[in-house]
Symmetry: C2
Subunit: 311 residues, 2 copies
DNA sequence: TCGGGGGTTGGGAGCGCTCCCACGGCGGAG
DNA sequence: CTCCGCCGTGGGAGCGCTCCCAACCCCCGA
């Protein structure tokens, strides 16, 4: 079934059907109605390949997921982003590629990456929008307000009366962690953290980092962790050495992962919406593809403090 | 850059380049080498749209994800499947669609669905492989050995000396849960469970279901839960009423989710590999697309008992 | 020596669509 | 009343590829 057949049924030409399908102006209402009814009655679906060949678009965008090796709690983030992206793509198709060598035949590209080194698919000259701020490079991106979230966490610990707080900062090459810690520092103002220690994104690494921190600074009464995964390790370590959470030490995480709600004690954390992130990134990309002008280079989405038992 | 240009550089015709690119026989080694070097030096990539239009394939498969409303712990499963699928697709492109009204222009379709009602995208007449056994219907599928996993869980509780076990069975329309419970019953043999209660896939529902079960059967010493999410609710409820886990009551979950490792006590559970599931399903679909004969209608992957603190 | 067949290669015909140009008819201005 | 311009429409060209058939060459057997 092709354009020609639809045209015949509607009593018009191929061109006119094409015009109607593409919503271009210059078709009389009567003709438009006739075509639409023919399309509906035949359940006609345009051949996407032919469209791409003849036209200048493919109506397909790539979603490139660059995997980190020690991903642990990122699954919910990824599915959230993906869900948001597919719903924000406005009819375009999403080709998903994990660690792709190259991507071609797409109109645009969304890149979801944990680390700051943007691993752009090579040989690609289409608009790109990143999900998550890159550490460098002038690419458009959409990100959660990690800085603001860090501020929320900092104010919260201050409000709880915690005066000697440690920070488990995560990897220095993950922009989200860097921003969170920066926000946290800002909230503390004149009284800086008692110690800031980098670590990997795993509970074990968080536990080890906190052990190191406590060795040099035993009288800590609060810990801010760049991610929930790290926080879970921190809580585990604190309890293993007999410290009570939150009575002796308050712990705050970041992400509001499922794990944060089921661990004991349930984690106070900062919530971000992965789905909104994906949806917004898709919207931003589509806007660029449709030729919209004056688009913001970066978009930052609000975060929210969720107070539970650990603080 | 197109076939013609490559042909010119290689000093052959369009047809010959096409033959080389498609790996068809009947090309002399010398010619083949010349073409391959031309392709490499130009970094030529075939236009996918033109290929689809002229040929009979699109080299694209749809990955249809049908979302359930009360998904809670499924994110890791989904990303695992997706990861496996993309790596098993052997160069084909994966178009991901979440709850799509319709899908077209694909060679085949993978459907990831929690519930047993297979929500096939309509108007689709291509090979389909399901990830997870459907409750009905003769479609090809790949699934974890949920039955075998249930047996493992049952034997384990028997070995632990648990004689009065309850089962939180999950929804009756989720094939995976049905199978897990069936396997569990089989392992118990002549001494059936003290009670089997359906519930939703959330901790809260699990807690509520267990509360109901304990009301009628207070002397239970073991609980098998169809998923980890349910098990986490069960553990929470048991502790809330003062029962010790595992001293008083053993609890076994299913999925080996991240939450199972971070909750207290860490859950004994049955592990399945979502990535293998996706990879195998992709392989099965590709095999069918390439015309392979005598393919198995269903493929079942092994599961594994993981013993932790809750039993 | 000649004819037949197999192994290679080239070129034409489309796939179904979009884009562009040309054409016809109608209304308003001169 | 005539001319111009615009709106609505039709049809040709061509996107880059695959498929098919014809052409060619070379080697073999008769």
């Amino acid at each position: 079934m092709n354009l020609e057949e639809v045209a015949r049924l509607a009593g018009v030409s191929r061109s006119t059907v094409s015009r109607v399908l593409n919503g271009s102006s210059g078709v009389s209402p009567a003709t438009r109605a006739a075509v639409e009814s023919a399309v509906a009655s035949m359940r006609y679906l345009p051949n996407q390949a032919a469209r791409s060949l003849a036209g200048t678009r493919t109506d397909t965008v790539a979603v490139v997921v660059s995997e980190v090796h020690d991903r642990v709690f990122d699954d919910a983030f990824l599915t959230g982003v993906l869900r948001g992206v597919t719903s924000g793509l406005d009819g375009r198709r999403a080709v998903v590629a994990v660690n792709p060598p190259s991507v071609s035949d797409v109109d645009g590209c969304l890149v979801v990456s944990m680390d700051g080194h943007d691993p752009l698919p090579r040989g690609l000259s289409v608009p790109v929008v990143l999900v998550g701020r890159p550490l460098s490079g002038g690419l458009a991106y959409v990100d959660s307000d990690n800085l603001g979230g860090g501020v929320l966490a900092g104010r919260h610990l201050v409000a709880r009366g915690r005066a000697r707080v440690g920070v488990l900062a995560g990897p220095p090459d993950v922009a989200a962690c860097v921003d969170r810690v920066a926000g946290f520092r800002r909230a503390l103002g004149g009284s800086p953290p008692a110690g800031v220690v980098p670590c990997a994104l795993t509970p074990d690494s968080g536990a080890a980092a906190l052990a190191g921190l406590l060795a040099s600074t035993p009288d800590i009464d609060g810990v801010f962790c760049a991610t929930d995964a790290i926080a879970i390790g921190a809580v585990r370590y604190l309890r293993s050495v007999g410290a009570r959470v939150p009575e002796d030490v308050s712990v705050v995480g970041f992400d509001d992962s499922v794990a944060a709600t089921v661990c004991t004690p349930a984690l106070t954390t900062v919530r971000q919406s992965a789905e909104d992130l994906g949806n917004t990134a898709a919207w931003r990309l589509v806007a660029e593809l449709t030729g919209e002008q004056d688009l913001p280079q970066s978009i930052v989405l609000a975060t929210e403090l969720v107070i539970r038992e650990s603080s």
